[in-house]
Each structure stands twice: as C-alpha cells, then as structure tokens.
Symmetry: C2
Subunit: 150 residues, 2 copies
C-alpha cells in the first residue's frame, strides 16, 4: 500500500472505478497543522458555491455517516453541525477529494441561507482593481435566524 503523496500520485493515472479503502485514504490525506482540510460547499443542482469551512477527520466521518454536513469550527474549537443555531442545514449529496488530497468539495442541498449574514452564499463581495462591492442582499434577516444567541 502506498503512503502520503505516493498514494495520490498513483491515483493520478488510475482509471475511473479504481477504489481505495476510506481509512487508508484518510491516513494519507494532507491535513494541516491543526488536522484540518478546507471544505468547499456547492449547491448540488444550481452549482452555486455557498461557503468554505474546515473539517477534521472526525467531522468528515460524521458527515459521511449522517448525511448532514458537520464542519470543525476553528473559532469555537468544536464540531459545528451546520444549521445548529440557524436551522439552515446542509444535506450532503456527494463528497469529493482533490488530486493531492488536501481539499474537499461537498455537493450539498442547502436549506435557505448558507451565510451567517442571511445571504444565500458567503461570496457576496465582488472585487475589481478599484474596489470591492457588495452585490447580494440577504434572503432573511439574521436576527430571525439567530435571535439573541448570535
């Protein structure tokens, strides 16, 4: 069995249908110093990129087994079951790993707003060489989502 970067080099030339057992793959992923990898959430049908957050091995496992997306919150230093305060949950449709084993793509079904501001997506500021401009409005008032708990 191949280890670390070697495993991912082998997968580069592997044909569709080639499989690797999950524990072996997780062991060889490039987790950062905090044991995390970035996870991009994309709405599975519209293709909209909703947000980026982080997962460790435990929250990755939990997400795959429950089908409800669970990140690792770096600010709160604990698992973050998306929607636990706001009700705006993410159901996992499919999870993908990138070529060098250090980034996840989550195809999800997002209920309501992914962003804590009440916007559908976190990427609501457009940058040009002159300025940043807010281009999307909230779908819902975050006060309604979080009340006084925010």
């Amino acid at each position: 069995m191949s280890h670390g970067a070697e495993l991912f080099r082998e997968l580069e030339t592997a044909s569709p249908g080639t499989t690797v057992q999950l524990p072996h793959l997780l062991e060889n992923m490039k987790w950062n110093d905090l044991g995390l990898v970035p996870a991009i959430a994309q709405q599975h049908d519209s293709g909209e990129v909703l947000m980026m957050a982080w997962m460790n091995e435990a929250t990755l496992h939990e997400t795959l087994s429950t089908g409800r997306v669970c990140y690792w919150s770096r600010s709160r230093n604990r698992p973050w079951r998306k929607g636990e305060s706001s009700g705006q949950q993410q159901r996992l449709i499919e999870m993908r790993l990138d070529c060098d084993g250090d980034t996840l793509l989550l195809l999800v079904d997002q209920q309501g707003a992914a962003c804590h501001t009440g916007r559908r997506s976190c990427f609501y500021t457009r940058l040009t060489h002159e300025k940043g401009e807010v281009v999307d409005a909230p779908l819902v008032d975050p006060e309604i989502l979080y009340g006084n708990s925010k």
Copy 2:
C-alpha cells in the same frame, strides 16, 4: 474607516451597491501566516468547481489587472501563472470575496484541463463511508501538456 474584522462586520449589513476601495479591503483581509488566502476556481458558465489554490496580495492584483489567473505556488514559492507550462490558462470573469475576508471565489473561463493530471477538475475522487473512488478520466494525457518538463 473600519479595520480588520470590523470592516467585514460592517459589510454584513451593507446594501447591494455599497463599495470599499480595494487597497483598504486588501489591508483588512485575513491573510494566513504566509500572507495567503485560498482561491476557489469555478467555471463561470457550467458552475463546475475546478480547483483550489492560493493567492497573495501581489498575485491577486496581477490577476485583477491582467485578467489572467495567477496563483502563488507554495511548493515553488513563486507566482504561478496558471497554464504557464501546460497552456491550460484561466481567464478571470469575476472575483468574489467571502463574508469574513479570508477566501476568494474566482469565476473563470478554463481552457482545457484545470488539473495537472489532465482532468477537467481536481475533484475526481468521490468519498463514501467505505471508500474513495476515482470517478473522472483525463481529457488529455498530461505527457502532452507537460512533456518532460513535469
């Protein structure tokens, strides 16, 4: 003028059309210890998420001014003008910043394969609770893209 997280808190409740000068925005973004932020590249029309790489302030500026995507290569420790070896360039259509100023979304027009394996996207391994499975085949042989230079 607001600084750091404060600026992004103000933008949370800003109406569409609100603008911030680019230098002020860049100054307040959350760059990591290496002065980088992750940048997600998405094909602008199909919505396909192609790859994730990193940008520093200089490569972000270069990308906005030239319209050709330039990342910061962490392995080579230098600017990486996407496609400089492979010819598979990315033209920038639009750049977005997320709500807390630490992640970019690039809407691009990708020529050919975004992935160094010759696949359209780097996210070609599907994870389930049992296994990882390669699910996409290369569009083009990477030997043709990189020859002996790889």
